[in-house]
Symmetry: C2
Amino acid sequence: MTPRTASGTSAVRLAAETWESLFRAQVAVMRRLQSGPAFRDLAVNEYDVLFTLSRCPSGWLRLNELNDNVLLSQSSLSRLVDRLEKRGLVERQPAPNDGRGVLLKLTEEGAALQKEIGREHVRDIAELVAPALTAAEQRELLRLTEKLRASLPSR
Amino acid sequence: MTPRTASGTSAVRLAAETWESLFRAQVAVMRRLQSGPAFRDLAVNEYDVLFTLSRCPSGWLRLNELNDNVLLSQSSLSRLVDRLEKRGLVERQPAPNDGRGVLLKLTEEGAALQKEIGREHVRDIAELVAPALTAAEQRELLRLTEKLRASLPSR
DNA sequence: CCGATTTACATGCATTTGCATGTACTGCAC
DNA sequence: GTGCAGTACATGCAAATGCATGTAAATCGG
């Protein structure tokens, strides 16, 4: 009854092994990245918030939208943003059309720090990924992970 | 001077975008997995330790080897294992040939809990991954992530 | 064999995190 | 409009985490 592939592996098992491998690769790469000097005075999650804000076309982003990108609870993100605000890296503003919402934006100092760390970070990534996979393989990995993410149920 | 691909993207940038996509996919999948009912009484990191032990052929695993698999500092893993031991899920033993080392093993109760959670977990994974990618795509994603992980510098 | 360095793990302590809850606002039913 | 459920964010508090450091054992250089 259970459908099996040519290699005798069930579909469920293939999915589990695929996720396991993706997860382990992420752990292994992340471990090496976060121990590097790029993150000496900013945690990876904190950098990630600055990075996401730097990519935002309007410059302003809602806190709840930010939360989708980060593996943090809503309350933890709220306090992480507190810290960034106290360090003068981001700015809060009440949302215009929603009295409950909060908009976030990089300060000039925040944007500068993001760029500085970002340069190092990108270099570190390339040093890990480029020797491991050919350009074609990287493009395929990019395509597959993007497709996976896009296909997930909204929540 | 900077080498560019046909699409005008530098090798460094391709590597960075590939990692970014892999990372976001991991965050998105993990967010959905850990909010599910499978992890109602065991954190994901804690389950991960039980899972890794369950895969170990000899049954016993060194603490430092375990640490390579998990995105946790050495001290945090030490205390995580404390908690698992207090709950009767794992057992510590001094390493035979190295007086500094500690060997870990699942208790019967730990093995049973791992299997129980594992069943739910695998089902959750399949529900997310299988509809998103074809079997061939999953195999390719598995291959690429495995190659990436295997190609990383030891540390 | 002896001292110096390194490795494996544990622990004190400050910081970060998540859960539960609180507050304020929105939107919907009527 | 009024009441009521739902959403967005903040906060109290207990638990988890990381850094720095401690302890003990292994390894290395002489």
